[in-house]
């Protein structure tokens, strides 16, 4: 039996969250594999949380931030990218593919884009299969 993928999506409270609530208003379906975590800014997602997610069995993690010149706080996406780059190095050491961690930018009205990105991401993770950290059994 094919195991259901587990995907985490960290959504910044500003544009990405607005896209997500916009999905709700328009009843645009979200892939069932996606678990949504709202954070105050993409820049808040530190390496520790990302590693925690993979440690606990996430097959993929997507961070959705605002477009750089639209960041409410100014530096969020830049800081997020730095954090992600740092995390990539560790993922590499752990033998996890880079594709399992992604960063995407949004403007507040882009509900359709968020939806299609999430679907695409889930599909890509599906192709990669379950995370080797957890294995096929879904347990550590």
């Amino acid at each position: 039996m094919k195991h259901k993928m587990k995907v985490l999506a960290f959504l910044c409270n500003w544009a990405p969250w607005s896209c997500y609530t916009g999905m709700g208003d328009l009843e645009i379906p979200i892939p069932g594999e996606v678990n949504v975590i709202r954070v105050m800014c993409a820049g808040r997602v530190n390496t520790a949380l990302l590693l925690k997610a993979f440690e606990k069995g996430a097959d993929g993690v997507l961070i959705a931030g605002c477009r750089i010149d639209n960041c409410q706080n100014g530096t969020g996406p830049e800081v997020a990218l730095k954090n992600i780059d740092h995390t990539y190095e560790i993922l590499n050491l752990l033998g996890l593919k880079k594709e399992r961690l992604q960063f995407k930018y949004y403007l507040a009205h882009e509900s359709e884009k968020l939806s299609s990105d999430l679907h695409e991401f889930v599909e890509r993770i599906g192709e990669l299969g379950k995370s080797p950290i957890v294995g096929d059994q879904g347990n550590v």
């Binding site: 587990k6 985490l8 409270n13 500003w14 544009a15 969250w17 607005s18 997500y20 609530t21 916009g22 999905m23 709700g24 208003d25 009843e27 645009i28 379906p29 979200i30 069932g32 678990n35 949504v36 975590i37 709202r38 954070v39 105050m40 800014c41 820049g43 808040r44 997602v45 530190n46 390496t47 520790a48 949380l49 925690k52 997610a53 606990k56 069995g57 996430a58 477009r67 010149d69 639209n70 409410q72 706080n73 100014g74 530096t75 969020g76 800081v79 997020a80 730095k82 954090n83 403007l107 507040a108 009205h109």
Partner: protein
């Protein structure tokens, strides 16, 4: 009722008005925002696209929401100012509201009203009740009500015809019948024999053929006979002790009795005959109205409690007076007038000549007189047709009707006439009898003459079936009489003046392209089967026919008042069909309007109380609109300064933050719309299974005041210390972001402001959005996902920390750096608003007192500023060059090069005409620079922002006529004061904090912080620690993502909470 009193009345809701409203309220003045349209205009979504690509609407949205959420702003939409009057206290505005028919403060935007509404407007996806705006203010629905439809106006009983047709069209037959019964009894009878004046008024007449209203009514009555259901009926609002007597059990008597018993009286009907029903039973033939139908309707009335005494003539033996003696307090005489006129012809007394009404009466009471083989009926009304068809059924071989005019003039029902002719009865037009021929006192023939069609006599002989009136008219009159009795017994005025809803618009014009369609053919029994008996001829529409016919209705009144929306909204109670236009008086001191004010208001108000900059036309850029709004606010605030309001503080804090976890789970079903109700109940049950959960329930609506009350009561009653609210609010913060909306704000407002609950104990999750994005999933999947979400929240709320409270007052000092026209006007306005102003410049531009030459306005500003400098209210510090600037909002320290007064402390700084790059930022500001937040496209758009809270830059649009009036300076002054006031009162509940034991003083956070909210403290390099400047911190959490030791954390959504969330989520 006391009149509400406001500092400023703001007319219109463009961006300028919203900005003015927000700034004025934040400065501390009560504001009433009046909008003529059904929503605030700045909620339009098609505004410009900002250079960053963001839609400007999303930049404005938080402003719109902030205005909605501000405790000092009241918004009235669909309202116009009728009149402004001078009053003792100041000025009064009289405002006229049009009703939405939906309470905008209660509507939870579940959309069920729209879903159930049967009225679809042709050519659009709109319905009679439809959504105003998905994201605007108010976020609600609106019922489009027009004048009463013509059919209803024509009905003597005022039955809501459009309403029941709409219900039939959507297959709701019982509901249709219930709706009819709100206005009239005896539905099954009316549906058969009413002369339906409604149909002749139907606007469909102008297109093809009127609706078959009467037959549709019959259909729902028959439907009930075939599909009986238990109808407990509505209890009267009150019960009165008075007994009322009604004489006569005809349609009028029965209707009056029905109305009176519904009003709460005890009613007794006295009937002379042994049978009940009056002419319904005695005159109308069974093949039109079967006795069983009549019995049924009368039974229903008796079940309601009406007492009917037959065989009891009032008059001879038992007088009316005796009824009073028996204790009746009012008597209604409803005996009808079934007296026939004699023709006045010879031979009228011969045996075999009958008056139609007594003849029909005898037959209906069971007599079967011998009538011979050939019969003639004289007349063309319903009684004539009825008599002819009755004669046929009594065994006559040949029946002739003699009518003196043509079929055109015939008063009888056209349908009845067709059925009559179908049965082989011959109609002889333009024929009238001269006299009756007889032998041995027995009729043998009639002598007739041919008529020419002449003018109809003015007295026109009507239908004699009920004497002077038709059944429905008699019933209508009886209803009125019953109401008169009620008013008489209750001591009310004879006629009540009804509040007319004058706001209703006219019908939509007829669309002559409407496809032609005709009413379905009424099924009838075959002629052979019906000719020799009194069985019913017409069989009634089938279900399919009834629906098809009802769908032909043009829905003239748009909203049909079928009240289905009221039923689906009963848990929320937002729908109110009797919305009456209101005139409300509001007191105010100044008017702010970006558009020109009507002349009638200008003439009443003194010039200095009108703040209106209308000469700049339309088509402003967003930042210019904001500037104008702020400038209007600044001017008004400078005028209003003496009377600042204090923002009402929460009087009670029911639940201050306590240690120990005892949780409550509240799931909002959004009036059973957000997801499957069973799933919601399952989720509540699932939550209740956790050890720490002391209370778990599904709320009908969390944004309803009652929802907040339920939560508060449970917290108090069960000593709950943590709450998970799974509704549509995403957070507990008072921050407003792009995704927020009316309902989410209201939910938090009701809980935290009205009920005084502490946001610290709450965890809010947007379950509605979760459900909405999973509509395509199977229920089991949704349930599993929902359980996970609930479990995440319940485990997260355990780690909740107390959010910080309010800050104290800030020093009222502002430095304006740079003497320009705008800087000077800002200085003057800041001073007017009660702030101490330091006017600083590197040079001494005020020295020659005339720096721009001939400009009159500028000259007056220079004069004004010198007055203030001389009186000491503004401190002028020329020739000072900045050496250092550090600190934070409420406490900036400016150091100057080689001056006597070497440094200055101020709460805020406004730069005017100064190159920001050259400002010597030091200390905590050293690494910041002003680059941030000056880019357009920020969600909370502020053109004055420099990126450092409390430091502003003057915004001067290029080539704009309002620059000459110094408006940019006034706008900046308003902006400065608004931020200072806001910082004093706002509880900043998203700040970061530093664990001093874990901090290594590396300074990564200082570098990363976009808001200059971190300073390094400690005297030596070993002691160096970072510290959060709460005034600047926006809670973005960037600092903690770069902290190598985990010393920094946000109070809202701590690292521990997010870790917990990830763990539970991936379990």
């Amino acid at each position: 009722m006391t009149t509400e009193s406001y500092g400023a009345l703001i007319i219109g809701s463009k961006i300028e008005s919203l900005k003015a409203a927000y700034d004025l309220a934040t400065i501390g003045h009560r504001v009433l925002l009046i909008e003529e349209e059904e929503k605030l205009q700045a909620s339009l979504e098609d505004t410009e696209i900002l250079p960053s690509g963001a839609r400007s609407w999303y930049a404005i949205h938080p402003l719109l929401m902030a205005v909605r959420n501000h405790p000092l702003v009241d918004i009235v939409t669909l309202s116009v100012v009728d009149e402004i009057r001078h009053s003792k206290e100041g000025f009064s505005a009289f405002i006229r509201n049009k009703p939405y028919y939906i309470d905008t403060e209660l509507c939870c935007f579940c959309g069920r009203c729209r879903e159930i509404c049967p009225v679809e407007l042709p050519g659009s996806l709109k319905k009679a009740v439809d959504c105003i705006s998905e994201k605007g203010i108010p976020r609600t629905f609106f019922i489009d009500k027009r004048k009463n439809p013509p059919c209803q106006n024509a009905c003597p009983l005022g039955i809501n015809i459009q309403g029941y047709l709409a219900l039939i069209a959507s297959g709701k037959f019982r509901e249709a019948l219930d709706l009819i019964r709100e206005s009239a009894p005896l539905t099954g009878i009316l549906g058969r024999i009413c002369h339906h004046p409604c149909e002749s008024q139907c606007r469909r007449n102008e297109i093809d053929e009127p609706l078959a209203i009467c037959s549709s009514k019959r259909f729902v009555a028959d439907y009930e006979l075939e599909n009986p259901y238990h109808d407990s009926g509505t209890e009267p609002k009150e019960r009165y002790k008075e007994r009322i007597a009604i004489i006569g059990s005809g349609p009028a008597g029965l209707t009056a009795a029905w109305e009176l018993i519904r009003l709460g009286y005890r009613v007794t009907i006295f009937e002379t005959l042994p049978v009940v029903g009056g002419m319904l039973r005695t005159v109308i033939a069974g093949y039109r109205l079967p006795q069983s139908i009549l019995d049924n309707e009368i039974n229903a009335l008796e079940k309601m409690g009406i007492e009917i005494i037959a065989n009891c003539p009032i008059g001879k033996n038992k007088g009316i007076g005796s009824l009073f003696d028996e204790g009746f307090k009012a008597i209604l005489i409803a005996t009808g007038a079934d007296v026939n006129k004699k023709l006045g012809l010879g031979g009228e007394d011969l045996a075999g000549v009958y008056d139609s009404i007594p003849f029909l009466k005898r037959i209906n009471l069971g007599e079967r007189p011998s009538i011979g083989k050939r019969a003639v009926v004289i007349g063309g009304g319903n009684a004539a047709l009825e008599s002819a068809r009755t004669l046929l059924r009594l065994g006559a071989d040949e029946v002739n009707i003699l009518y003196r005019r043509t079929s055109e003039e015939m008063p009888g029902d056209k349908n009845e006439l067709l059925l009559t002719m179908e049965e082989g009865i011959k109609i002889n037009y333009l024929v009238t009898p001269i006299r009756f021929l007889g032998k041995d006192n027995q009729l043998t023939g009639v002598k007739c003459t041919h008529m020419d069609l002449g003018e109809i006599e003015p007295d026109g002989r009507g239908d004699v079936v009920t004497g002077s009136a038709t059944v429905v008219e008699a019933m209508g009159a009886a209803k009125k009489a019953a109401l008169s009795i009620h008013r008489y017994l209750r001591g009310k005025p004879w006629r009540e003046i009804e509040d007319q809803d004058e706001t209703r618009g006219d019908y939509e014009p007829l669309d002559f392209n409407t496809p032609r369609s005709f009413r379905p053919l009424m099924p009838v029994r075959g002629i052979k089967e019906r000719k020799d008996n009194f069985g019913e001829v017409e069989l009634g529409y089938t279900k399919e026919q009834a629906i098809k016919e009802a769908k032909r209705c043009l829905q003239c009144g748009i909203c049909s008042e079928c009240k289905q929306c009221e039923i689906v909204c009963q848990n929320v109670g937002a729908v109110n069909h009797s919305g009456i236009k209101k005139h409300t008086e509001y007191r105010f001191r100044v008017v702010v309007s970006p558009r020109p004010l009507a002349e009638k208001f200008v003439s009443v108000l003194p010039e200095e109380r009108i703040f209106c900059e209308s000469e700049f036309g339309e088509g402003r850029r967003l930042e210019e609109s904001l500037l104008l709004g702020a400038a209007l606010a600044g001017k008004a605030a400078a005028f209003l300064t003496s009377q600042m309001e204090v923002i009402p503080k929460d009087s009670k804090k029911l639940s201050s933050f306590k240690e120990g976890v005892k949780s409550g789970l509240f799931i909002c079903s959004c009036n059973e719309s957000s997801g499957n109700l069973e799933v919601m109940k399952e989720l509540a049950k699932f939550g209740a299974g956790f050890d720490e959960v002391a209370h778990s329930e599904v709320l009908p609506s969390a944004c309803h005041p009652d929802g907040a009350r339920i939560v508060a009561d449970a917290i108090e009653g069960k000593e709950i210390t943590r709450v998970v609210l799974a509704a549509c609010s995403c957070c507990t913060l008072d921050m407003i972001c792009t995704a927020c909306n009316d309902q989410r704000l209201r939910c938090k407002g009701n809980l935290f402001n009205k009920q005084g609950l502490d946001p610290s104990i709450f965890e809010m999750i947007n379950l509605k959005n979760f459900m909405a994005t999973r509509r395509n999933m199977d229920l089991q999947g949704v349930l599993e996902g929902g359980k996970n979400m609930i479990e995440c929240a319940l485990s997260r709320v355990k780690f909740q920390e107390k959010l910080p409270g309010e800050y104290g007052a800030l020093a009222k000092t502002v430095a304006v750096i740079g003497v320009t026209l705008e800087g000077l006007t800002a200085g003057i306005d800041l001073e007017k608003m009660g702030y101490h102003v330091y006017l600083i410049d590197e040079r001494d531009p005020l020295l020659d007192k005339n720096i721009s030459g001939e400009d009159k306005f500028y000259a007056s500003i220079i004069e004004d500023i010198w007055e203030r400098i001389n009186s000491g209210s503004i401190v002028y510090l020329p020739g000072l060059q900045m050496k250092a600037l550090e600190g934070y909002l409420g406490n900036f320290r400016i150091e100057f090069l080689g001056a006597d007064q070497s440094h200055l402390r101020v709460s805020a700084i406004l730069f005017s005409g100064v190159e920001l790059e050259k400002v010597p930022l030091t200390g905590n500001l050293l690494r910041k620079g002003f680059a941030r937040r000056t880019l357009p496209g920020f969600h909370s758009f502020s053109p004055w922002s420099t990126g450092i809270p409390g430091i502003f830059k003057m915004m001067v649009p290029q080539e704009n006529s309002f620059n000459k009036k110094g408006l940019p300076g006034t706008a900046a002054a308003a902006e400065v004061v608004a931020l200072l006031r806001k910082s004093e009162i706002r509880a900043k509940n998203i700040v970061s904090q530093v664990d001093q034991d874990r901090c290594r003083g590396c300074g990564h956070c200082l570098e990363a912080c976009p808001f200059a909210a971190i300073e390094m403290v400690g005297d030596t390099i070993e002691d160096r620690k970072s510290s959060i400047i709460e005034m600047h911190c926006q809670g973005c959490g960037t600092c903690l993502s770069v902290c190598p030791t985990g010393a920094v954390d946000t109070i809202y959504k701590t690292e521990k909470q997010i870790e917990e969330l990830i763990e539970v989520m991936l379990r």
